[in-house]
């Protein structure tokens, strides 16, 4: 029952469903916008500026540390549009949420065009999450009755002497919209990566909190500054957010570089002839899939990935390579020494202590948990199983199916004694999914 519920997002293919839902919402909004009463010319101008800025924001997407894509400027402009009321001291806009959503649709689609022309993929589920989030903000602000039979939009008039109340209400609306975005993204990742939904949501909220605060503040800033400054407020008040975006981009860039360096380190053993080709990379990919399946947080998954990449680095200190590089076949004492040497090399960096801890325990059998009550990190148990599987299957492309079956059989022999049964179950789930993908393709 539990696992049936867990697999629900994947079964429903929610990451495919989100874009479909967005298209439906967009179509409805465009229809509503066309049917809505004539707008004055000035409003058309304002909407045009917003559409352009949203498109520019979409072109300047950034990749967050951890790999997810977002478009801060587009989102902030979208929220600001959703909450726009007075533009200039005397002019009040009259458009509905339908118009806001229609303009957002135009802007976001236009912003996706350059990427499509370059044939670089546009992540439809992330785009859909952004779009739905702006739609929620527009409906919340313009149509949901909150007080005295009025929505926030018209309540602003009675709050004109205490504008900070307006500001706080705007921050709250943006906050809710951002949560909706995190919720959609979490659904999509849970569905795509087969992770528990709750874990994805917690990660999404935790990682998005910083940028989210900047986004909510910027949307509010623009909406408030439109009264004295007119629509010029939009580009001008995006400046603080541009700084934020610049800083986050640098942060994400160094994280990427860091990953590349770790991958280079992982190839030391390969080039030294100690391990088979791409062994560390394969073990890392398998370990990460298993870690996600077991509901590890993003931060722990990153440590797991690095540890899996570096799990054989202790072999560099060996005088002669182990045949085939398969530590699984080595004597337990040698396995322990390789694990310790590897942890030593990694510990020397002074910054990868979490990874060193994982490496130290990677050769320890699971029974130490049961019999001695020792606390083996989950990541170590995962790497032990993934490494054993890769060593057993080997590189042989032919007879792969038979090799796979006998590898699983051998791992089953060590179940509970050598390997953690829960981790082995995760391995089997991950491999079944891979087989399904290969079979379908």
């Amino acid at each position: 029952m539990r696992s049936a519920l867990r697999d629900l997002p994947s079964r429903l293919r929610l990451h495919r469903l989100l874009p479909v839902l967005s298209i439906a919402v967009a179509a409805g909004a465009v229809a509503a916008a066309v049917a809505s009463p004539q707008m004055p010319l000035q409003d058309w101008g304002i909407l045009l500026v917003f559409a352009v800025v949203i498109a520019v924001g979409e072109v300047n997407r950034i990749v967050l540390p951890g790999g997810r894509e977002t478009a801060p400027m587009s989102l902030a402009a979208g929220y600001a549009l959703a909450m726009t009321w007075e533009v200039g001291e005397t002019h009040r806009v009259e458009f509905t949420a339908g118009v806001v959503v229609a303009v957002t649709t135009v802007g976001m689609l236009a912003g996706a065009v350059p990427a499509l022309l370059r044939r670089s993929p546009v992540r439809a589920d992330d785009l859909a999450a952004r779009f739905l989030s702006v739609a929620v903000a527009a409906i919340l602000f313009r149509h949901v009755v909150v007080w005295d039979g009025q929505p926030l939009l018209t309540l602003q008039e009675s709050w004109s002497s205490t504008r900070w109340v307006t500001a706080i209400s705007m921050v709250l609306v943006s906050g809710i919209a951002l949560f909706v975005q995190a919720f959609c993204v979490a659904l999509a990742t849970a569905s795509r990566d087969h992770r528990p939904f709750w874990r994805s949501l917690v990660d999404e909220v935790r990682q998005g909190a910083g940028l989210g605060a900047a986004l909510a503040a910027s949307g509010t800033l623009i909406a408030l500054a439109e009264r004295p400054m007119g629509v010029v407020a939009l580009p001008v008040f995006l400046i603080p957010l541009v700084l934020t975006q610049f800083a986050i981009r640098r942060y994400a860039g160094i994280r990427e570089t860091y990953g590349q360096t770790i991958r280079a380190l992982s190839r030391l053993t390969e080039i030294g002839g100690y391990t088979r080709r791409d062994h560390p990379a394969r073990v890392a990919a398998l370990s990460v899939a298993m870690g996600r399946d077991l509901g590890m947080s993003d931060r722990d998954t990153l440590d797991l990935e690095y540890a899996a990449l570096l799990h054989d680095i202790g072999q560099v200190a060996l005088r002669e390579p182990i045949p085939g590089g398969a530590t699984m076949m080595a004597a337990p004492a040698d396995q322990d020494r390789i694990a310790r040497d590897g942890a030593g090399i990694v510990r020397q960096t002074g910054v990868l202590d979490n990874v060193a801890v994982i490496l130290e325990s990677q050769s320890k059998p699971y029974r130490q948990v049961r019999e001695l009550g020792e606390d083996l990190p989950l990541a170590s148990r995962i790497i032990k199983v993934a490494n054993a599987y890769d060593d057993l299957v080997g590189e042989a492309r032919a007879r792969r199916a038979r090799k796979h079956a006998s590898a699983i059989e051998r791992i089953h022999l060590g179940l509970g004694y050598e390997y953690d049964p829960r981790v082995v179950e995760a391995l089997i789930r991950v491999l079944d999914r891979r087989a399904a993908v290969v079979g379908a393709g």
């Binding site: 940028l211 900047a214 800033l221 408030l224 500054a225 603080p240």
Partner: protein, 502 residues
């Protein structure tokens, strides 16, 4: 004010206290005159208190180093905004109290000087705006806001920057004798752009506070994105440091394998960086050079361990296996994007000026400059290291050895750079104790030109094989793959002439 504000502990000469007293007097005088003449908007105490709270909070954010040469000064933003919103007296008060009550240890002198300086900045900024700018209640529309508020605010901002730079130049001149003009130029180029940024953010703050009627809450809205930016930059700095450490782990891993070369990479990275100066290399090239020097021998990890530790004999196959290390190093690090500029440097660091080197047999200017520099530094460090068969050469002797090979093995121009560097810097030889020497017995240092020439001269059949297209190890599928170096077993190779290691 991060870089700008904090005067270091001044020396005890009498000029410094006098200078500080004068600064304080001027600040007090300017504030008093403004107060008596009612210049600027009437002082609203609620606004002053809000700004003061923000100013004090900003000192909390100042403590941690942001790194990467980017400094954020929240206090500068608050002072320029106060100058417009609460006038010269109010902003002087905010500045003086924020600096005076700052947390952390500072001498009374430094505290007083900083407080007076920031107060003076606030007061003069306020006066400038009062003279040039418009009353905030009277402006409407974007054009008016930009011209009658934004422009005067930027002028006040520049004046504040100049006051900061001038006063600091004065105190630095008095306490440490640094020429004020050079200091001024440096200050203005370093913090000029940042001050423009503070001015722009201050302008947004002012609009939101005044014309948009948001009041104190605008501080939260404006500072939130900036705080997030600062947070991301702190993370960036930490990750960058972590990355540097991890990169050096690459080097450490190789040194685990080849203990006789311990410390070699770090030393030649330092030497190469010095040599870049007389060669007038650009900043980017120097970066690439230093990384290439750090990592030039990482490919040794693909050389069989028995060759790196005391081989009894050297067969041509062994020598060839050793020469693969420069190309293997590239294979190892080529997926690290920021090292792209260093790859050629690593690959060609054993090419010779006369074209007889490896792996590609390039000659003269065909060899990348980075490689030519590394080649000289590499050989120099090898010569100045104690080995079992000979003591280390003194730096001048080692230089003579290198000069003898100028135009044959080494680029004459780069050898000249080495000579220049040795006039400017001391170079300690790397000595080894008895135990270490004993462990090194039989070790062939491939960077040592004398030792290498002996091996090279006695293995003639090797040359064509080595000078051909470079070796590629097995992990690369898209290129023809010769036998993996680790698989090359010396015992099966017909031994043309066995060479005793020198």
């Amino acid at each position: 004010m991060s870089k700008a504000g904090a005067a270091r502990e001044p020396s005890s000469s009498r000029a410094v206290p006098l200078y500080i007293a004068a600064t304080t007097l001027v600040a007090v005088a300017v504030v008093t005159v403004s107060w008596v003449l009612h210049i600027g908007p009437p002082v609203e105490w609620a606004a002053v208190v809000t700004m003061l709270i923000l100013g004090l909070l900003s000192s909390v954010f100042r403590e941690r180093d942001v790194g990467s040469n980017i400094t954020f000064s929240f206090l500068s933003i608050i002072i320029i905004s106060s100058a417009v919103l609460i006038g010269p007296v109010g902003s002087a008060l905010v500045g003086a109290l924020s600096m005076g009550l700052e947390r952390g240890k500072r001498s009374a002198e430094a505290r007083i000087f900083n407080a007076s300086m920031v107060a003076l900045q606030g007061a003069v900024g306020g006066l400038v705006y009062a003279a040039l700018g418009a009353d905030l209640d009277s402006v409407t529309g974007a054009g008016d806001l930009l011209l009658r508020v934004g422009l005067p605010l930027m002028v006040a901002d520049v004046v504040q920057m100049l006051i900061n730079a001038l006063l600091l130049a004065g105190i630095v001149r008095l306490s440490s004798g640094t020429p004020p003009r050079r200091f001024l130029v440096q200050m203005i180029t370093n913090s000029g752009v940042a001050y423009i940024g503070y001015g722009i953010i201050g302008f947004l703050f002012v609009i939101l506070w005044g014309p948009a009627d948001v009041g104190w809450f605008s501080a939260v809205l404006i500072l939130a994105p900036l705080y997030v930016a600062r947070w991301a930059l702190v993370q960036y700095g930490e990750e960058q440091r972590a990355h540097e450490r991890t990169l050096s782990a690459l080097v450490t891993a190789v040194e685990t394998k080849d203990p006789s070369a311990a410390g070699h990479s770090g030393r030649i990275a330092a030497l190469a960086e010095w040599m870049a100066e007389p060669l007038s290399m650009g900043t980017q090239d120097v970066q690439a050079l230093v990384y290439a020097a750090m990592l030039h021998d990482v490919g040794k990890v693909g050389v069989p361990t028995r060759l790196l530790r005391r081989p009894r004999t050297w067969t041509p196959a062994d020598v060839e296996a050793l020469t693969h290390h420069s190309a293997l190093g590239v294979v190892l690090v080529r997926e690290i994007e920021f090292l792209n500029g260093s790859l050629a440097g690593i690959r060609h660091h054993h090419e010779r000026w006369d074209g007889l080197g490896y792996p590609d047999g390039l000659a003269g200017d065909e060899i990348p400059l980075i490689s030519r520099v590394i080649a000289v530094a590499d050989a120099f460090d090898a010569l100045t290291t104690d080995r079992a068969e000979r003591p280390a050469f003194a730096p001048q002797q080692a230089l003579r050895q290198i000069e003898q090979r100028r135009g044959r093995q080494f680029d004459p121009h780069v050898v000249g750079a080495l000579a220049t560097v040795l006039e400017r810097h001391d170079w300690p030889i790397t000595s080894a104790d008895e135990d270490e020497l004993d462990r090194m017995r039989g070790y062939l240092d491939h960077d040592d030109p004398i030792a290498w020439e002996q091996v090279w001269a006695t293995t003639p059949p090797l040359r064509p094989a080595v000078s051909g297209p470079g070796p590629t190890p097995h992990p690369v599928a898209d290129e023809p793959s010769p036998p993996h170096p680790a698989a090359g077993n010396a015992d099966d190779v017909p031994v043309a002439e066995q060479v005793r290691a020198p």
